[in-house]
Symmetry: C2
Subunit: 879 residues, 2 copies
């Protein structure tokens, strides 16, 4: 005879397939002698059998349920339908994979017109009738198909009659009368009386829970999460315990360690003579868990022992729900406790030191994403937030300050010691000094790759982009968030990690790198195969990256060097020059500045490789905004007293800006296309790199420059640029008398580069997959446009499993990467490969990079620790 029903003590943790997740967990807890309220599980096999038989319980099942119930009654010492002290049970679904909220639950089953009186005597009448009416409601909804609405209407009517507004204000008497009304309501709707016999209640409840496996919600949920339909759900029948049976009863929740700090000390709270609901409802204030030592010393001792036993058993910090019923302790649930990043790191490291887990396990215990919390200033989780808007989370970290609307003012106020938040429609290279001066940045236009976003991430500065709700009026110096109007000087806060804009000042928490943090990352370094580099454009970022454990710079974007206030005019002169001579003059002015940048970086990174990308963005990015100019020119034309020379100058500038402007700058004249059309720019940059290298060497640094040519799509582009770089190198060598050891490689950021990797590898010493652009071109998504206009809907509606700009798309973009690596290595075995897109700092993407055999990932300095940990996890998950 097949066993359809298992008492908790008959099951084990590894029987999840037939007992479901919850059933297996209850069995596991029971098996290690935890005081779990007894019960039994009807198997998932029974569920499928139930469907196979036309939604009927077989005789055999019914008999086994009957037997299990008898054993339960014996064990508890209470009986179904006993009017003095009735056995009450919960009936819950429990499938193999968690499907939260998708199927049904019934509590307090066993109550009827008689047993409710017993319960009233044992606890109190108000609680008893409230429980009974809840049971009727739940049972009627789930089992009998009577909608909640009718019951709620009756409750509302009663509250109106009693002139009260809260359920909690209704009395025992009110609830008792409502129970009567509820029963009449059920009779009217179902044309049958509400089932009063507990065994019949149980039978119907089991059938209903089985049936809920095939309700629409559950079916859709399974489809979305790709859970097979044939698994079925188990049903758990568990005896109820009550913490509100007097002062020898109570209820509480506790963590075995402090979930905020990780400190190894019980942390939690409890309420005497109360049910879990009372804690949630906030009617009474719970007491800290250590007070339990005074109130119930024995229970407390037992709880401490149990929590140690649980940690030893589960080898993990636990979050425990418990109830004390008449001096007896029950554990209702135990699970791994949620914790902050700080706590996660400390707990993991402590558990290793306590000998409970291995270093490898500790590495897998910390979610790399959480490390971000540790590395940036963040909102105090206990602070009250007056959230007034939301934009794109463009650069993590939190900041508070006074609103300013232009970069000059930002600098001015910051110089006099004010903290400021720069609020702009969008930023341009001309705003850099203001961004540097500000604590954080908000823009109303532009996406995750807009100027503001990219620059802010590079600076490690909090930034929210594309906050379209923010209606900025630059003339009035006001910004409107919905109905809230803020003026220049008003204080505002932002959380760049979530995109939230908050009115007023909020408390912030500074980052702190603990010993445990360093220890964990050291362990990660011992395990990982991937090299972790940082994207850094200046000596400060390079130093920060090194501090965080970067093994080099994977992407140094030279355009950011072009964007500083004093350089933009020279860069513009270079771009707008009419003659080659003028252009060369401007380039000669830029040369020593670039040299200086690189010298600092080489010193900061001595001994480590530094990949420097030659100029990438289209030149119009360095010029004034076309629309602004158009408005200016139109205004000058309309004005009677405009200076005609000014108008002519602006008109000429407008023509040039328009001539350089592009319909799709992302796919336009940028990257090596600049280098091929205007080789003098790349020549200057190469010269600067090599002169800087020579200077750094003379200053004692060990330099390893890697010159990277961006946006190559055809091998000939790289061939030509390699020729140029080598030519300049020969000249510089002659000039400095020093032979600089350098390599030349390319970004793989358009599909054609990956598709022709075998040819391109012939001219490249390394490939760096620029996965931001590669994602844009592979999907045909402009990130700036997609994220605001349709991508969020794609993710919400599960058209795409993830935002591919956050998590690397393995089927499409990933296929190109694998192909590129394979073909590239076939053609050149020594080819070094890595990625330098933002995916380099995202855990799933890092795992993909590990599996694809890349040599390194490169990410923002603040993500280096995350990448170190994720790289180690990739090894552990892969083995």
């Amino acid at each position: 005879m097949k066993q359809w029903v298992y008492l908790f003590e008959e099951g084990q943790a590894d029987m999840k397939d037939i007992l479901g997740g919850k059933g297996a967990n209850l069995a596991e807890m029971t098996s290690i002698d935890l005081p779990v309220p007894p019960g039994f599980t009807i198997t998932t096999e029974a569920c499928m059998q139930f469907f196979a038989q036309g939604e009927q319980l077989s005789k055999e099942m019914e008999t086994q349920i009957e037997q299990a119930l008898e054993k339960l009654e014996q064990k508890i010492g209470k009986r179904f339908a006993d009017p003095t002290d009735p056995l009450l049970v919960s009936v819950r679904s429990g499938s193999v994979f968690s499907m939260p909220g998708m199927m049904d639950t019934i509590l307090n089953l066993g109550l009827n017109d008689e047993t409710v009186k017993g319960l009233a005597t044992l606890s109190d009448p108000r609680f008893a009738y409230d429980s009974y009416r809840r049971f009727i409601q739940m049972f009627s909804d789930v089992v009998l198909g009577v909608d909640h609405f009718y019951f709620e209407r009756l409750i509302t009517e009663r509250k109106q009659a009693q002139k009260v507004s809260q359920d909690t204000e209704l009395t025992a008497n009110d609830w008792q009368q409502l129970c009567e009304q509820f029963l009449a309501l059920v009779q009217k709707h179902t044309r049958k009386p509400f089932p009063q016999e507990p065994k019949e209640q149980l039978r119907l409840a089991i059938i209903a829970v089985f049936g809920s496996w095939n309700n629409d919600r559950a079916k859709i949920y399974r489809k979305i999460h790709q859970i097979p339909d044939h698994l079925g759900t188990a049903v758990n029948v568990q005896s109820m315990v009550f913490g509100n049976r007097g002062n020898d009863s109570g209820t509480g929740v506790a963590f075995t360690r402090n979930p905020s700090t990780g400190e190894n000390r019980l942390y939690g709270e409890f309420l005497l003579n109360a049910q879990g609901e009372d804690v949630v409802a906030g009617v009474r204030t719970p007491q800290p868990i250590d007070q339990l030592q005074l109130k119930m010393p024995e229970i407390y001792q037992q709880f401490v022992r149990l929590s140690q036993q649980l940690e030893a058993h589960y080898r993990e910090m636990q979050d425990i729900e418990f109830t004390v019923e008449r001096g007896k302790l029950y554990l209702l649930q135990t699970r791994a406790g949620k914790r902050t990043a700080q706590a996660a790191v400390k707990v993991a490291v402590d558990l290793v030191l306590e000998g409970l887990i291995s270093q490898e396990e500790a590495l897998l215990r910390v979610d790399p994403d959480q490390l971000q919390q540790i590395l940036h200033r963040r909102l105090d989780p206990n602070g009250e937030l007056d959230v007034i808007g939301k934009g794109l989370p463009a650069s993590p970290g939190a900041a508070s300050g006074r609103i300013v609307f232009d970069a000059d003012q930002a600098e001015e106020w910051a110089n006099r010691g004010e903290r400021v938040i720069l609020v702009r429609p969008e930023t341009t290279p001309e705003d850099i000094h203001g961004m540097l001066a500000a604590e954080g940045i908000i823009t109303s236009r532009g996406g995750m790759t807009s100027h503001a976003a990219v620059v802010a991430r590079g600076m490690g500065k909090a930034c929210i982009c594309g906050c379209e709700q923010a209606k900025i009026d630059l003339r009035r110096k006001e910004v409107e968030f919905g109905q809230r109007v803020l003026k220049e000087g008003d204080t505002i806060s932002i959380d760049g990690g979530s995109g939230r804009v908050i009115a007023g000042d909020v408390p912030l928490i500074d980052p702190e790198l603990t010993n445990e943090f360093q220890t964990l990352l050291k362990w990660a370094d011992q395990v990982r195969r991937l090299e972790v580099r940082a994207n850094a454009d200046n000596p400060e970022d390079a130093a920060k990256a090194r501090e965080y454990g970067a093994g080099g710079i994977g992407l140094c974007r030279t355009e950011h060097m072009f964007m500083s206030t004093e350089r933009v005019p020279i860069v513009q002169k270079m771009i707008l020059s009419e003659t080659q001579e003028e252009r060369n003059q401007a380039l000669q002015q830029l040369l020593p500045m670039q040299v200086e940048d690189f010298v600092g970086i080489f010193h900061a990174m001595t001994g480590l490789p530094v990949t420097i990308r030659l100029l990438d963005p289209p030149l119009h990015e360095f010029l004034p905004n076309l629309e602004d100019l158009l408005v200016e020119v139109t205004q000058l034309r309309a004005s009677a007293d405009a200076d005609p020379r000014q108008l002519i100058g602006k008109e000429a500038l407008l023509r040039k800006v328009r001539a350089l402007s592009e319909s799709n700058p992302m796919l336009g004249h940028r990257g090596c296309r600049l280098g091929l059309v205007s080789p003098e720019i790349y020549a200057m940059q190469t010269e600067a790199i090599l002169l800087a290298a020579a200077e750094a060497i003379r200053g004692g640094a060990d330099v390893k420059p890697e010159i990277m040519i961006p946006l190559v799509g055809h091998v000939n582009e790289l061939k030509e640029m390699r020729r140029l770089v080598e030519e300049v190198a020969k000249e510089t060598e002659a000039q400095t008398g020093l032979e600089i050891p350098f390599t030349i490689g390319t970004m793989i950021e358009v599909p054609r580069a990956a598709l022709t990797a075998s040819e391109i590898a012939e001219e490249a010493d390394f490939f760096s997959f620029g996965t931001n652009d590669l994602t844009q071109t592979t999907f045909g998504f402009s990130r700036d446009d997609a994220e605001g206009k349709f991508l969020h809907l794609y993710v919400e509606n599960k058209i795409l499993p993830n935002n591919p700009f956050v998590t690397l798309d393995p089927q499409g973009v990933g296929r190109l990467i694998r192909f590129g690596v394979e073909e590239g290595r076939k053609s050149k075995a020594t080819l070094k490969t890595g990625i330098c897109g933002e995916h380099g700092g995202e855990k799933h993407s890092i795992q993909f990079c590990h599996q694809s055999g890349l040599d390194y990932v490169s990410c923002s300095p603040y993500r280096v620790p995350l990448a170190r940990l994720a790289s180690a996890q990739a090894v552990l998950l892969d083995s």
Copy 2:
């Protein structure tokens, strides 16, 4: 002993490897007893041996050359250095692959101070001394390394002394004295006398021609054209003949058939007592070839016989150079004659009917590209052109008309019978009626995929885009091309096939589809495997496509239907609607219009499949231009007496246009991304298609609609859109009571679609590769930006072998197509595949499509004949 030297009569056509192209051709002509001036060839192997021996001729070679020369003297009956009638020869390089102009040639070798006198007696002194000084110049330059410049300076000095300006004005005496000066000059530069001994001249010339294989020009040319360096060049030594030895001598050029019309009748011209140069110099006017019948009846008869013999031998129309020396006819060269498209078609078909070639050969004889000439109005090749500008050749065909600067005026003038050319900075949907009214369009901005270009190609209307030289002043109604200012009403002509802008009126030739044309294409249809469809958006184009032999419509772009004048306001209402209700109202207005469009197309295409693409472009394309609006709003703001309501309205519109505008519209919110975010638009279009199909069926048509979802990158997009289409279909079916047989497929136009083709094929009945966009995304090239800014340089500098928007890139884009077809078919064997980008009308790309196993190509109606022919050629070239 190895044979290093071959007399022409010893060689054959298939000895190209050792005789080079020219040598093998001369041998072939000699072998069929054509009267070729005798000579011999020194082999390519001798050349390589020459290099192997340190640039020396071996004894063996010298002996063989000596022997060949003796035989030549015997054959001609003239001898080297004979002062009365000297043997003169030409020495020419001739490699296996043609390298025009890369290596050296020496004429009239054998002249010296003595023999020149003989030549003077035999011809005339002026000719003799002119020939001698040319020989000295050429020989000194090529063999002795004395630069042309010195000789030219002496000629200039003499002209000044004689007070004449043209070389032709110098007398025999002048040339004789110049010869003396030349010889002295050589003596001074080389410190040796000019070699007077003809055999020594020959030896030195052969060494120099061999050596020219490794000159810089030739090396670079080989590198670019990937010609191996080890092939070497042959040297051809051929006796000179002269047509200027009296009235029994002459020279001429003739085609065996008329190269303009293809008529089977000798066509050419000749000059008595003249050399080829005289024809070229234009000093004397040649006579038509049939006059030769009167002047030299026997020679004429011989020439007619020879031309027939040549056609029979080469099985191709020939272009023959001939010289008559003292009553003896010599053929100097014969080769396949260049011809117009009309002639190419007629000759090919006639040769089949005459039994000279097979149908298959005829198909290979016509270059598909030429067919374009036949199908569009074109410039009369005999007309004089005053070219004043050049832009992108956006849509082929030629047109003349009066300049107008706006669409309304274009319509107005056209209505009163004027032919007009619409000149605009760029066009928008609001200009469509003007484009329809105009003969042709010029825009100063925008590329090959700009609105103007796409619409004009669809209309088959001549169009030049991105003509940046054209400075348009809309206020003054003027356009400036360099120094030329044209005003409204001035006449202008354009050639959309070359991008040339021409001042004034020019004669045009109308297209004519001859019987031969139809015959050739019928043969093509019997051979080709690829189906050829057309891209057509309205019933007129559909009818035109059918006339040209299209087997269906491969791409019907519904957005063009949204762009007609009366619809744009409704489309704008739909886009700008604030509520779902407003939007639905606008869509309901559009529905019957769309139905009407489709009914016409279905009737025109009865019995054939019609692929209809649902709305593709981003919605902002239907709205007013952002910059124009910005200017208007700025002007209204600046104006004291502006209507405030107007300002408010315009400001609101500006906000909406800005909200919809995108940084990279090409990668933005378009294609199925619209369908997913705003399903009501696709639902309306699907409804219109199926209602139209029902109406067409009732009207007796056999309809085969194929509904195409654009820009799919993930299978879920297509899955969702397929669900929508099927849902609407069910409703429409219920409404009409007719079951419409239709299929659902997708465009493959982003790399990710090709990379995940196996998944996407599960939801698709067909794939249509949109190679325009696929090229843009695979390369990361925005066509609009690339073509003006860097792509032309890429092609000029051979960074790319071709413009990938013209010729499909087989390594990158092509790899994705092959992968997509393979993976798609693996997952669904019945999957239909084709391409509908502009490559569908380009011969190399069509060949690629054939080889990749696609089912069809689709192109503009005017390119359908080209595609039919190219598809047949693909089969023939592949077998």
